[in-house]
Symmetry: D2
Subunit: 243 residues, 4 copies
């Protein structure tokens, strides 16, 4: 406060950027894909993206409106074409997760509706085609070598899995982020990757969020991406940026 008043350069920048502050634009630091950049996709799984998934009733409309399913496929294709590694951070709930003694609101909902259920990490019975399985159209990419599937996250962020380590073990410093759902796992990944020291951009229409009465997750996600990411792309803008 004082410091800015007595620092002519800071004051000048402040005046340029902030007057009138009530109309301040949020700066856009920008993002450039280079050979330390990877794409990270959260939860490209049936329970979010298939009309048969347990959340389709609250999220299907957003998925359709954003064209999320096709946009995520475009990201896989662009990655393969341009030699960009893709890391997938999935969401699985095991039987023991249903015995948690407390949960936040959406954690409770996910457990109540059996979302992402899988017996345990050593059990694949009933997994094929379940809500926890990949959306079928993505399997042909995920099975290839340019895609790495890290361990499951358990709340919303990558704090419980090895995503950041796997990125660093490949000397990745910058992340283009997309997936499901926008204001929960994508946003928590965004925030944690920033704290872990990555540069992060988001592809906003390769995400989608749940809509509950009075609470539209898409609105929250779009605001917060703009506040904290280095840049927010549409899928088309990201595609153009690679040319």
């Amino acid at each position: 406060m004082k410091s800015i008043l007595f620092n002519p350069i800071a004051l000048y920048i402040f005046l340029l950027a902030c007057v009138p502050c009530a109309h301040a634009q949020i700066p856009d630091p920008g993002f450039t894909v280079d050979n330390t950049t990877a794409i990270v996709i959260t939860d490209p799984q049936n329970d979010f993206l298939s009309p048969d998934g347990v959340t389709w009733g609250v999220i299907g409309e957003s998925v359709i409106k954003n064209n999320t399913v096709e946009n995520l496929e475009t990201l896989f294709q662009l990655a393969e074409a341009h030699g960009i590694q893709v890391f997938i951070s999935p969401h699985y709930y095991y039987e023991h997760d249903h015995k948690w003694k407390f949960e936040g609101a959406l954690e409770k909902l996910m457990h109540d509706i059996g979302m992402f259920d899988r017996g345990d990490q050593l059990n694949k019975e009933g997994f094929e085609g379940s809500g926890a399985d990949w959306l079928p159209r993505y399997k042909k990419y995920i099975n290839k070598d340019f895609v790495t599937v890290v361990g499951p996250h358990k709340v919303y962020g990558p704090e419980q899995n090895d995503l950041s380590l796997q990125l660093r073990k490949q000397k990745i410093d910058k992340v283009v982020l997309a997936g499901m759902s926008g204001n929960l796992c994508v946003e928590s990944h965004l925030r944690e990757l920033l704290e872990d020291g990555f540069e992060v951009a988001v592809v906003v229409d390769a995400t989608a969020s749940a809509v509950a009465p009075g609470y539209d997750g898409n609105v929250a996600a779009e605001i917060n991406y703009r506040f904290v990411a280095s840049h927010v792309y549409t899928t088309e803008e990201f595609k153009q940026s690679l040319k």
Copy 2:
């Protein structure tokens, strides 16, 4: 997906909770203050809460509308009256932080406007009354024994400081969260505290967020608190809950 269809109890819960899903209410797990509960306040500093602070132009209107300054004072008073410990997670930027090679959007803005600036952790010159200092009316509480000031966070969340450790070293399991700004540091603290295994409630009108053209941080914060916290209080509701 499959699992729910063949599991009559899960299906029943699903039908109760989710049909029609498009109108699904978000569950409210609830929150009860007990002797493992603390209040955590982020950034109760001049740069956010004083009309002289560097962000007042973008955040002052929200602070006034929410009555944030008084509501935070009420939280300090309730804590003292009910023997609840308060932990403050402040935000300081040192000279070397201005040499970062990359920043997200609001990180860039905060550095450009000299927000929370302080020479370094061994330098108090010019600190008194600066934008990084406490709002004066809170000092009489912060100087008391029921308040612990942890290290500074550096992006938005407590990943870079000792907040979680200090809470655990006092056998705290549950957190009532408030402070500044709503969709940045408060929300990042909320998300990280959840990942760290705390139960967390938010006092929504003891926060406030920046408003930029087209991007209202208050809207994002309110949606996301409701999605992920165990409960969202107003200050008045929190006060009533302690009776």
Copy 3:
């Protein structure tokens, strides 16, 4: 330094505890099992504990000397008898882990010898009876409800998995730690659990460490457990403490 000279109580404690400092005993804070206590076991897997495992040549002698296999079984039995939850933090390496661009010394060795290899988390082919599988005699415990298997760690500590979260979701504050190997995964779990705010005791003879020419991991583990844990038990002492 100065502070102690001018603070009579601190000086008195210092003199009692530390003179002559060269002969200072390390304090023993002690540990009591209560209903917030769990047992955590790292890597109870064939590659460490079976004579057919890939590390038996360097670690078998320590396993036999400590009676590690039987002592770990005793911990499972004590846990079941006393209603103590057990959490297992396993070690799996997937195919993509073999493509890391850099590794520390033992990471390199583990990859070179194919330790804990498993195709990926969605692949159980060849797992049964492999080096990554549980030691057979532990399976009857691990399959029961008092045991929770968390995600795999990837270097040595629980930073890459959900161990701390799973403990907190069961309101666990205190950990009795054992498993393999002593100076690597056990010690890294010990150090990280301390940073995460748990009270931790170690059962030293329910661990064992590798011995390389000039470098005995058991020696390092025993010194460091004593320096940093709240208490170091033998299995017999731990058993007696539960009576």
Copy 4:
């Protein structure tokens, strides 16, 4: 286990590397300083390195034997000469840290003897020349621009401070580690930096550890550095490697 028997290449590597395994050498992955490399120094403070410090009685002999004080100064000089950034992770205990409800063994000792005591982060009274202050001969380096002092750690590792973030914000991927004390803060920093995805080498004689009856921290540190780091240097070897 099985996998290696049926995999001729892995078996061959295994035979080369490990037969007879009882005599297996630990591999040495090596380390090369490049423009993504920084030096990290823990706790270069009076309480460890000055004959007036509170731990000199247990650690002084090791400091003298290793020539630690001079070797750390050599690292500062080499860094300045070769344009390598230095990051210091200090150790401060504030008044509220003395109210922790539980502590591991050395945490308890450090608090009992008033080690690294400082009122709080907004209080510099009595700091100059105290046990928490820098060893005087290092001040001329620490005051220069090539040195960054991050927040204090509170147990042993950088989990409670912003070290990893500050490194990443300077695009640092590799760390040369040294400082005090060898088997506590240096080793915990080593382990956590590995989990955070840094390549790490240690300069073993620019560290020193406490010796308690029956427990020589230097022995533990030297074994564990060799097991987990990418390379272990002496100060002289590190100097030669820069030529």
